[in-house]
């Protein structure tokens, strides 16, 4: 099969086959990071822009390494939303970056739906690296990939997601991915962080950690954002930990060969006990390794269909964008001498005005 999505905005909308295809592709990429020369030439000459409006070490470096291992040039832009408030809008920033002809735009943004806004520009493939409380699709893929390495097919497996479900994009993407692949998902957390609407997703809802963990094959811990306490989602970190910290004792409820995932960064002693985080069941560092493979796969799948998509677009709507125009701008002389009206439709006549006045003066 081929992957036909132009953008990678979320797990929502991906079919089971598409998910499995991306996972298989990612699994094929895993080996590259084990080589001595960790680089393939696939995306030579392409530029990937990582536009991060939120601080991130793991995801940003993972995307950067993935791009570099595919021989693409990776540019990181850390923007703070405060500076955006002073001036440029997100769309203007994106328009400017797209004018530099990247092969893909990777965006992390605190507002849900920000990548969708850029995707509507449709200047280049947009990859969601986490938007607000909405989705973090590559994180879900690397989580599922890690679970599959340990447990095989996730269908029929029981997987618990523990913590702040309400605000977690990681939870949303994982719930969608895991349920699409046939896993049974249990959500565990205090009721303030566990919306009642969750039950519509076909998942179980638990407010008791031990009851929720009974017999699970895998446990996905979510990062607790400390500022939630200020807004009365729970009284104190201590009290949260008393109810929902994954301890060695709580772990006894799960299957004996359970694995434990965490998207990082961890709050040790709040949502996860160090003995568990560093213990034999933890696959947290494998997640990080798989993250590179997943991002390589997504970058590969989205950017190697780009030229095709651009060409099709220029035929259908007559707007010469992307590749074609870049080619011409490298040889303006040839273009000015011999305009080829037969090949041009619509607005792509625009280079002419830049050249004609000079010639008129000369004559």
């Amino acid at each position: 099969m081929t992957f036909s999505q132009r953008h990678f905005l979320g797990i929502e909308g991906l079919s089971r086959d598409e998910l499995l295809f991306v996972l298989h592709t990612a699994e094929s990429f895993r080996e590259i990071s084990e080589r001595e020369v960790k680089k393939v030439p696939t995306l030579r000459g392409k530029t990937i822009i990582n536009l991060f409006y939120e601080s991130s070490t793991r995801t940003r470096s993972s995307f950067e390494i993935a791009a570099k291992r595919l021989s693409a040039d990776a540019i990181n832009i850390s923007a703070s939303t405060s500076s955006v408030n002073k001036g440029e809008t997100l769309l203007d920033t994106a328009r400017n970056l797209c004018a530099m002809r990247p092969a893909a735009l990777v965006i992390r943004h605190p507002a849900s739906g920000a990548p969708h806004l850029l995707a509507r520009l449709d200047q280049c493939p947009v990859i969601n690296a986490g938007d607000g409380a909405h989705e973090h699709p590559t994180q879900a893929l690397l989580d599922v990939m890690t679970i599959r390495e340990h447990l095989g097919d996730v269908a029929g497996k029981s997987i618990a997601i523990v913590g702040d479900i309400l605000h977690s994009r990681v939870a949303r993407s994982n719930i969608l991915a895991l349920t699409t692949l046939g896993a049974q998902v249990r959500l565990i957390g205090p009721p303030t962080l566990l919306p009642l609407e969750c039950s519509r997703w076909g998942v179980e809802r638990h407010t008791n950690l031990r009851a929720g963990l009974a017999g699970v094959d895998a446990i996905m811990m979510l990062r607790l954002q400390r500022e939630r306490q200020m807004r009365n989602f729970f009284p104190s970190l201590d009290e949260y930990a008393r109810g929902f910290c994954l301890t060695v004792e709580a772990l006894k409820e799960a299957k004996p060969n359970v694995i434990i995932l965490h998207p990082g960064p961890m709050n040790r002693g709040v949502e996860i006990d160090s003995r568990v985080a560093d213990g034999p069941y933890s696959v947290i560092l494998e997640q990080v390794t798989n993250g590179v493979a997943v991002r390589m796969a997504v970058l590969y799948l989205l950017t190697t269909q780009e030229r095709l998509a651009t060409q099709e677009q220029s035929v259908t709507n007559g707007q010469a964008v992307g590749q074609e125009r870049t080619d011409r701008q490298t040889q303006p002389g040839a273009w000015a001498e011999r305009p080829q009206p037969g090949q041009e439709k619509g607005p792509s006549r625009q280079p002419e005005p830049f050249l004609l006045p000079e010639r008129a003066v000369g004559q």
């Binding site: 590259i32 020369v37 030439p41 696939t42 590969y300 190697t304 269909q305 030229r307």
Partner: protein, 178 residues
Amino acid sequence: MPQAAQRIVLDSAAISRALTRIAHEILERNQGGDQLALVGIHTRGVDLSVRLADKIAAVEGVRPQCGAIDITLYRDDVGRTRTQPEVHGTSIPFAVDTMRIVLVDDVLYTGRTVRAAMDALVDFGRPKSIQLAVLVDRGHRELPIRPDYVGKNIPTSYEERVSVCLVEHDGQDRVVIE
């Protein structure tokens, strides 16, 4: 309406004989199976490399190392093809350095696949030598590449298609020109 004539150019027995001969030639050229490894190019090259390894084992008593290589990420036409090629796994489960490596593929045509495979291989290390074994050489090279072992030379025109069918994937062994 009859389709463009299908012509069987190698049947199951002929394929087996060709592989047996290639196995002997490999052993002869490399003076035995020491430091020898076979690397098949996805998809049917991998099957052929396994068969060659079996035949070499039958002659020498020692089975050479086998690997599989996917050239997708090394193609020179990334993003230019109508359909996006699927990425399969590459697996080179041995140290490449100092090995004599025989690349194995089903059909040799333009030579671009072999170029990509050599690029992929040297990313794993510095082999002592790289040789090339193909079941069919149909001509029309676009790169300066020459096979070391050939099952059968089959002159073809550009319009013709050479299909290699193997039991492992297609249920039967045969080479067809359409």
